[in-house]
């Protein structure tokens, strides 16, 4: 029994996939719209920004870190990208600029947490406010629309009738998942999250690694901002309110732990997929958006409580 439970916990991704498939089957019985190409497509496209941010969050949580600023950074970087484009900057330059800005905010978080020893919750709450505020300052609160068509393509056209942003998401999730599992460099992240002092004394350069994890997370948030702007043909400075919490919830559903040392990129991405599906299902069932928030919270609490129970049995 305990061995089976342990196995199950080890293949959290598989459990999530099964839950997703089962809820898909149930939903297709409950709503005729659910299993239509249009609906599934919109679910997949809708989860792209969250899934891309979740990649960075999975790495951060595995390292024992934490980042509340990601959604605000996404909005800020999308805004900057659109701003640069509207000022006539070439598309690659605007994108690179946005990504660099994300990396810069991330390195700020990293320095605050690593060298000034500010609690990650407080540090990234601060940068959340700064980033969100700056996005509003730059746009004076307005959206920036009418972006160049070849930029907008990123979010609207692509092979197999799926926009490029979906393929970018799939590619990044796959790549990052393999990298976190198998590369020497990212293996160190698990050691750091498992026991930072032991990692340091084992010869791992934890300070540099810690800064890297925040830069990585910030850069991906920047990318999410760029892709969201392309999708909407608009940069919205208030985009992604509470998205950081959804992403953290998804990562935890996917096996991450706030105490560090655990979790995978695939798990976090599947967590995002599950939450996207849940929200879509509730919408199709005419549940109000307000109740959807409540439901997400309950699902998270239930999943994590169950997880804790299984682990305690295991120990």
């Amino acid at each position: 029994m305990t061995e089976a439970v342990r196995r199950l916990a080890a293949f959290r991704e598989l459990v999530l996939i099964m839950i997703i498939v089962v809820s898909g089957i149930v939903m297709s019985q409950l709503s005729e719209f659910f299993f239509t190409e249009g609906n599934l497509r919109s679910v997949v496209i809708g989860m792209v920004p969250g899934a891309i941010i979740a990649i960075g969050m999975a790495v951060l949580l595995a390292s024992g870190g934490f980042d509340l600023s990601v959604a605000a950074v996404m909005a800020l970087c999308g805004t900057i990208c659109a701003y640069l484009l509207s000022e006539g900057a070439p598309i690659p330059l605007a994108i690179v600029g946005a990504l660099l800005l994300g990396a810069l905010v991330g390195s700020g978080n990293g320095v605050l947490v690593t060298f000034l020893r500010v609690n990650p919750l407080v540090a990234t709450l601060g940068t959340l406010l700064v980033a969100r505020g700056l996005a509003l300052v730059i746009t004076e609160g307005y959206n920036i629309s009418n972006l160049p068509p070849s930029f907008v393509q990123l979010g609207q056209e692509g092979p197999l009738d799926l926009p490029w942003m979906v393929w970018i998401m799939l590619g990044l999730v796959l790549l990052a998942d393999l990298a976190l599992r198998h590369t020497r460099f990212l293996r160190q992240v698990y050691y750091m999250g498992g026991n930072e002092r032991a990692a340091r004394l084992s010869g791992i350069r934890v300070d540099a690694l810690r800064v890297f994890t925040y830069v990585f997370s910030g850069t991906l948030a920047g990318l999410a901002g760029v892709l969201l702007a392309a999708r909407l043909n608009t940069a919205v400075p208030t985009a992604g309110q509470n998205l950081e919490l959804t992403v953290i919830a998804a990562a935890v559903l996917g096996g991450a732990s706030l105490t560090g040392g655990e979790g995978t990129v695939l798990g976090a991405a599947l967590g995002i997929a599950f939450l996207a599906l849940l929200s879509n299902a509730l919408t199709l069932l005419h549940v109000s958006i307000f109740w959807q928030i409540v439901t997400t919270g309950i699902v998270l609490i239930a999943a994590v409580s169950l997880d804790m129970l299984l682990r305690r049995r295991q120990a």
Partner: protein, 502 residues
């Protein structure tokens, strides 16, 4: 036997932790007005006994009796209510609060509606401190007190619920000689008041100064209880160790090679300047009381603590070590004192723990190869005789001794030139201890330079070729371990003998 039952007694006390019997069928008693010392090596069960008596652990079997009545404690508060006060080695005071607030922390006197009765608190705290012979002002903040004064506050706190039994865990470990003398005055005063005192220490000299009776524990069992005048310090050591030292400690080196690790003028905070040399094939011990700076010294050598001045040379060339990874790069392996806190990744498998220092050996093109990882881990496990189901077993489920072997094993694949170990056998049973000792000697014979800290003098004297004795951040003397006695080491450690040396 006596007309009235002992103030405190335990009968058949047993406590099992995964991998060790921390206490095994222990019976002993403490009379009112008696100082009863409990002696034993680390892992002998002293701390477990205190934890049970203070209500932190519940025994697996056996009884605790206070004045003849059986008691059982679900929580620490229950032990206090039964009249047992405890002062742990780690102080539990809140620096920003006052003396009085700390003394009454668990049961603050209140008036109507829960408003604090500060006047009564101050008055009672003052009375309590007077019974200890202290005129400490109850309104001073604890942060402004020195260690000896804090110790007094801890004792007052332990006695604040009218305790008739006082448990003291290594009460002098952080105290200077004068502070310890003051503490003993307090203990004598309490003894006259009829308090039963349990005094846990491994400082023999102190035990023989203050104790009325001495109980020796080994491997969780009672070895003997004797009146102080029926036992000599030598007897006590023999009873504590309990076997021929030659079994517990391997032989010493015949000859040593060139200097492997050299430290010149090292300073780190209050420590230093220190010079030392460890040769290839040599095991050098660092002795000293807690607070003597021995841990800080070795941690500064391996880059785990800030180094303010000084040079470190490995195989004759100066190296730069400001961070642990640099030390690792120069072939210096470090086994810190806290296995779980600083050396292992508790929720990871044995294999993952073992490759944490040497990922490079199982990596090709940046990818960690699972098969190579497993092979390396299995090789290390065999080499050091780590007993585990397989290398996938979670390291936190191993016994203490096997965990400690795992900590050593994780450095071996790197083939280090210098091995620095801090308390390598703390809290593990004697069998595992002997194995670790053999491993350390074998590594030294293979050409490593070993620098070793231990709180157990017998271990240092039994294992090492040379022992450096530290006090107040400086090396006060170097002794050839084979010829040195505990008394010599203690005299140097207490700062009462010797001069600067290296």
């Amino acid at each position: 036997m006596s007309k009235r039952p002992p103030e405190l007694a335990v009968e058949g006390l047993t406590k099992v932790f995964p991998g060790t019997r921390a206490l095994d069928d222990l019976s002993m008693s403490v009379e009112p007005g008696e100082v009863h010392a409990v002696l034993g090596e680390n892992g002998a069960g002293k701390t477990t006994l205190l934890m049970i008596l203070s209500g932190v652990y519940a025994p697996d079997s056996g009884r605790v009796l206070v004045r003849g009545e059986e008691v059982s404690f679900a929580r620490a508060q229950d032990a206090q209510a039964a009249g047992i006060g405890t002062v742990f080695q780690e102080f539990s005071l809140v620096g920003r609060l006052t003396v009085a607030e700390n003394v009454f922390a668990s049961h603050l006197p209140t008036r109507w509606l829960g408003v604090l009765d500060r006047r009564r608190m101050a008055r009672e705290a003052r009375e309590l401190l007077r019974t200890l012979g202290s005129e400490l002002r109850p309104d001073r903040s604890v942060a402004s007190l020195d260690v000896g004064e804090r110790q007094l506050v801890e004792i007052a706190k332990a006695l604040s619920l009218r305790a008739s039994v006082l448990l003291l865990d290594e009460p002098t470990s952080a105290l200077s000689a004068e502070e310890a003398a003051t503490l003993f005055e307090v203990l004598r005063r309490l003894r006259e008041q009829g308090i039963a005192i349990v005094f846990v220490s491994h400082r023999l000299a102190e035990v023989f100064e203050i104790a009325d009776r001495i109980t020796v524990l080994r491997d969780g069992r009672l070895v003997d209880t004797r009146r102080r005048d029926e036992i000599t310090p030598d007897d006590a050591v023999r009873l504590m160790v309990g076997r021929e030292l030659s079994v517990l400690y391997p032989g010493r080196t015949e000859e040593t090679g060139p200097a492997r690790l050299e430290v010149r003028g090292l300073r780190s905070g209050p420590v230093g300047p220190v010079d030392l040399v460890v040769h290839a094939g040599e095991i050098v011990g660092v002795a000293g009381l807690r607070g003597s700076g021995r841990s800080r010294l070795v941690r500064a050598i391996v880059g785990a603590e800030r180094r303010d001045a000084g040079e470190i040379l490995v195989d004759g060339s100066a190296v730069r070590i400001d961070r642990p990874w640099q030390a690792v790069g120069h072939g210096i392996a470090f086994v810190p004192a806290g296995r779980m806190e600083e050396a292992l990744f508790p929720r990871m498998s044995l294999a993952r723990n073992l490759v944490s220092t040497c990922l490079g050996l199982v990596t090709r093109l940046g990818i960690v190869r699972a098969a190579a990882e497993r092979r390396l881990a299995e090789r290390l496990v065999r080499r050091l005789g780590v007993r585990a189901r397989d290398v996938e077993q979670l390291v936190q489920t191993l016994s203490g001794g096997n965990q400690q072997k795992a900590v050593l094993a994780k450095w071996l694949a790197l083939e280090p030139r210098v091995l620095v170990v801090d308390e390598p056998t703390q809290g593990i049973d004697v069998g595992a201890k002997a194995e670790i000792h053999a491993i350390l000697r074998e590594l030294a014979e293979g050409g490593l330079a070993v620098l070793m800290i231990s709180s157990e003098l017998p271990e240092l004297l039994g294992m090492c070729d040379r022992v450096l004795v530290m006090a107040n951040g400086r090396v006060r003397g170097a002794l050839r371990a084979e010829e040195a006695t505990e008394e010599q080491v203690l005299a140097l450690a207490a700062g009462t003998a010797g001069e600067e040396a290296a």
